[in-house]
């Protein structure tokens, strides 16, 4: 396959429209007669609903309807359970509107539909709900303490799953290990906070019995299938479109958010289109959050720092419900081993309910936690044994000749955790070279001489990406010569309209500008899973490649008869089709497409149907494992504990790179979100599980003045698991950031000997660590 665009820094097809303000985000959808919805949410973290009086709201000006649980009928049942797991014994999901108990601040209690959002919010203020507050479970530790209040009163525990995986003989390894390190690692709650909040628009045509839904989802097809089942409609009568989506990062893949059911329900009941757009305060209490975990971890090493065994027992906060299963804790547990050979490994977690917003994956989805624990343990080993931080890692790397490397665990896709390919030592060496690790001690000493505390950090990770089950693509060459690609994944800024175009363009010999890629519309492509776990480019990309090859073969077949040649002699290039060696007698690709759809005479049987079109699916046997190394230099103002990041380097291996411009953009954005989680962003709750940071004044997203430039370098170790040899890259940027920052800050404050075992690390908290370190010499 001649590659001309694959691997090139092609600027994006989707930009001109977005730059002109002609994007179509859910709030931009304009449907005649659309009414606006608003949700009344619980102000209590745990309470019984004694009564709801909506009479004044129902008669308020502009109000069309006020729904409570009693109005929902079968839609009032707990929403669907995703991704079951044998150890998930209490798979609790919420109802579209709370029936008798609210279990987190922000849980929907009533849904108002009015002429506009202003009137709908006015009506919400008129609804009187009488609550009887119940005891609150506000923290992970409180949730598992003896006699803790129950988040779900029909259970006798707050633990909804207890899952352990083991490799080798862990107890023996620890028993005979000359050196062990133990520590507790705490990661606080964070939110992905895309700049576009969630939104749903629904329009029901009772005559055509057809439901149109626009939804800011990362998985339109499962939403379509679920809605069809819940509403009793044939799937083909429900169309779900994920138009332009303003950033997803994980939480926009939840199925179902209450509003995704309430809005279609109201549209069908009222016979009028309904639009609900989440505002920012709602987003920070009602859109799924993540990150909260407490790890008690331990590492056993020999005298040379070689790993004998690792053990982590952790608590995972699932919030009030667990619709999305055990994906995050399983990914955390199975990412921890990283690029290191760990003969004996024990990972055990309990997924726990608390009276807080529901949790589901947010970019990284547990990978940052696994890497934070592993890298921090290794740093402590290096410190204890007086080893160089880089050397202690080099000694434990899985070597390039050991692939495929079986870690001995089961990954999130229930497949064996087997690294397909990689070159960890090369990636590591490259990062050390770029950050100037060799002469770092001298540089650090010079800075310390003139009173400046500089620190350097380096951290490694291996990231499971590109998991199945499958994605598909349909490619059509139109008589104009343009190529149309339809696929089921959703797009939230990852540049699929360009990267998939590059793949198809190379196979069909056209320019990426002549390829239109359309994702996220169930009417255009009805089979698929969605965009998550850095899989879209890997899984859907390969489907596009397979479909393009099929269209090329069909083109050769049809052109062969036109050019009186054998199909295998036919070539495609520069939008033309010709017999190899005789480019002068070429046909425009569009003409072949026209010929493939004859208006008269017979159509050859071997064409197996009209048109230059093919549908192909790609189902990877297992995930493809990317890897990388981040390194950084930080400066700490020891007096104020404020941190500046002077350099940040990422060396990344995601197999063959389709478009370096786009991969680098993914890494820049990932690092920025990682830095947010390492330093600025914390969702604060008080001891009654009341959220205290529900605006962007208090949930601090890093700005252009805070995020340093990120230097990115690629290493391309192709994956043997798919034809394109690609791996995922969407989450790489965020994964080791908290670990590398913690190591760098510890390095900067080495004389004080502080230990950083938590994220985020605010100046306030760092100063406390400095004060404590000074008090206990």
């Amino acid at each position: 396959m001649s590659t001309r665009y694959f691997g090139a820094r092609v600027t994006r097809n989707e930009d001109p429209a977005l730059l002109r303000g002609h994007g179509l985000f859910v709030d931009d959808v304009r449907v005649a007669g659309v009414a606006s919805g608003a949700v009344l949410r619980s102000p209590h973290a745990h309470a019984r609903i004694v009564g709801i009086d909506a009479r004044r709201a129902r008669t308020a000006p502009g109000v069309l309807a006020v729904y409570t649980h009693a109005d929902l009928g079968t839609l009032g049942e707990p929403l669907p359970k995703l991704i079951p797991h044998p150890t998930l014994i209490h798979h609790k999901t919420q109802r579209a509107l709370a029936r008798d108990t609210v279990r987190y601040v922000g849980e929907p209690v009533a849904f108002v539909v009015a002429e506009d959002r202003y009137a709908a919010e006015d009506a919400c203020d008129l609804i009187a709900v009488e609550y009887e507050p119940l005891p609150v479970v506000a923290t992970l530790e409180a949730a598992v303490a003896a006699g803790a209040p129950r988040v779900h009163d029909d259970l006798d525990t707050n633990v909804c799953a207890h899952y352990t995986q083991r490799v080798g003989h862990v107890e023996d390894a620890f028993a005979r290990a000359p050196h062990r390190v133990r520590a507790r690692f705490v990661v606080d709650r964070g939110a992905s906070c895309p700049i576009e909040t969630r939104g749903v628009v629904a329009a029901w045509d009772p005559r055509a019995r057809h439901l149109d839904v626009w939804d800011s989802t990362q998985a339109p097809i499962p939403i379509r299938n679920g809605l069809a089942r819940l509403l009793g409609l044939p799937e083909q009568h429900v169309r779900v479109v994920a138009p332009d989506v303003g950033g997803g990062f994980g939480p926009k893949i939840m199925m179902f958010y209450p509003e995704e059911v309430l809005v279609p329900f109201a549209a069908m009941r009222l016979g009028r289109p309904v639009k609900w757009i989440e505002d920012r305060r709602e987003h920070l209490v009602a859109t799924n959050q993540e990150r909260e975990q407490i790890h008690d971890a331990e590492i056993a090493v020999d005298a040379d720092g070689r790993i004998l065994g690792v053990r982590t027992v952790f608590l995972y906060d699932s919030g009030a419900y667990i619709p999305y299963g055990l994906i995050v804790p399983i990914v955390a547990a199975t990412t921890l081993p990283g690029p290191y050979r760990i003969p004996n490994y024990h990972c055990e977690f309990r997924a726990v309910f608390t009276n807080k917003t529901t949790v589901s994956p947010y970019r990284g989805a547990g990978r940052p936690h696994g890497v934070f624990v592993m890298e921090r343990l290794l740093d402590q080993v290096a410190a204890d044994l007086g080893l160089d931080r880089a050397e202690v890692r080099r000694r434990n790397f899985i070597q390039p000749d050991e692939f495929p490397y079986d870690v001995g665990l089961t990954y999130q896709d229930n497949a064996p955790l087997r690294y397909d390919s990689g070159d960890y030592p090369a990636c590591f060496a490259r990062a050390l070279e770029l950050i100037g690790y060799r002469d770092w001690p001298a540089r650090q000493a010079r800075a310390r001489a003139d009173g400046r505390a500089l620190g350097c950090g380096v951290a490694c990770y291996v990231e499971g990406t590109g998991i199945g089950p499958y994605e598909g693509a349909r490619i059509t060459v139109e008589p104009s010569g343009r190529v149309f690609v339809a696929t089921g994944v959703g797009t939230q800024g990852q540049g699929h309209m360009t990267s998939f175009a590059q793949i198809a363009a190379d196979v069909l010999g056209v320019s990426p500008r002549d390829v239109t890629v359309h994702t996220g519309d169930t009417a255009l492509f009805g089979w698929g899973t969605g965009t998550f776990a850095s899989r879209a480019a890997t899984v859907a990309g390969n489907a596009v490649a397979l479909a393009a090859q099929a269209v090329r073969d069909k083109t050769r077949l049809v052109a062969a008869s036109l050019l009186e040649a054998l199909p295998e002699e036919v070539e495609l290039a520069d939008g033309r089709v010709f017999v190899r060696g005789v480019p002068a007698r070429a046909l425009p690709l569009g003409e072949v497409a026209q010929a493939a759809n004859p208006l008269r005479f017979a159509m050859p049987e071997e064409w197996e149907g009209p048109g230059l079109e093919a549908v192909r699916y790609f189902a990877p046997p297992q995930g493809a494992f990317s890897n990388g190394v981040h390194a950084c230099v930080v400066e700490v103002d020891v007096e104020t504990a404020m941190l500046t990041i002077s350099r940040y380097v990422v060396v990344h291996d995601c197999g063959r790179v389709i478009n370096p411009l786009i991969v680098e953009g993914q890494i820049h954005g990932g690092v920025a979100q990682g830095l947010g989680g390492a330093f600025w962003e914390k969702l604060a709750y008080d001891d009654q599980a009341q959220p205290l940071s529900t605006t962007l004044m208090d949930y601090l997203l890093p700005t252009a003045a805070d995020v340093p430039p990120v230097e990115v370098a690629h290493i391309e170790t192709p994956s043997p698991l798919n034809p394109l040899g690609v791996k995922g890259a969407g989450e790489a940027g965020v994964i080791p950031v908290a670990a590398v920052i913690a190591q760098a800050v510890e390095d900067a404050l080495r004389p004080l000997g502080i230990h950083i075992t938590e994220a985020p690390l605010s100046p306030n908290r760092l100063r406390q660590l400095i004060v404590e370190a000074r008090r206990s010499p």
Partner: protein, 290 residues
Amino acid sequence: MKPAAFEYHAPDTVEEAVALLDAHGDQAKVLAGGQSLVPLMNMRLARPAVIVDINRIQTLNYLAEDGGTLALGALCRQRAAERSALVARHCPLLGDALALVGHAQIRNRGTVVGSLAHADPAAELCAVLATLGGTVTAVGPQGTRSIPADELFVSYLTTSLDPRELLTEARFPALPRGTGWAWKEIARRHGDFALAGVGVGLALRGGRIAEARIGLTGVGATPVRAARAERSLVGAVPSDALWEAAAEAVRAEVEPDGDIHASAEYRRHIAGVLTRRALAEALTRAREAA
């Protein structure tokens, strides 16, 4: 997050505005830049029944030097003051602080007087007014009065203004020629409210400190003048040890509250650090000016 309904008035003169305030009392809120009030209205935390929009009263849109004092009308946008040559020459402390108030889009609409009326305990401009010993002019049904900074700020978001009074002007006394100044703050992100901030004015005569002004934000319910620290500096010879002593004095004088971003202890600590650094910078400027 849509505001609750309100009755909207856009008077053309101060008199009309005051008449409206007189008629509606504490049911009415004045809208100038709106950069603090409208977010509260969008969140329905604030639901004023009446809004008196003064943006049409162009007589309030001025920035002038008036006998050694800078007079800023109620419609003088923060951005205009930030980029004003008069401010740079007479009140560089105000200019430096303005550059850290929110972001350009906020300062293009936000007014200096509006920030003083809103009286956020972590706002930069209130501390600058207190540091420079400025005053504001309030026009009410009973007439016009001038309110000095130390009588204006009462508590969180609370001033001594009567709901029926309109703040029409802020007056920032120029720092005497040869005075060194510095504004220092710590904020989590560029443009955020200060966890703590300090404004300093330092005048030298014969190698000794003739006058010292230290005003802080973020460390109490209102801006704080560190009077004891100021007194400890007058007459003394500048030195690092003196700055450290002043920092300790400031730490003893402030009563910060903690919140999810920083504890009271952290704010107290950096108030001292910022004071010391501000005094050092002000000293360099004072010496350059001498």
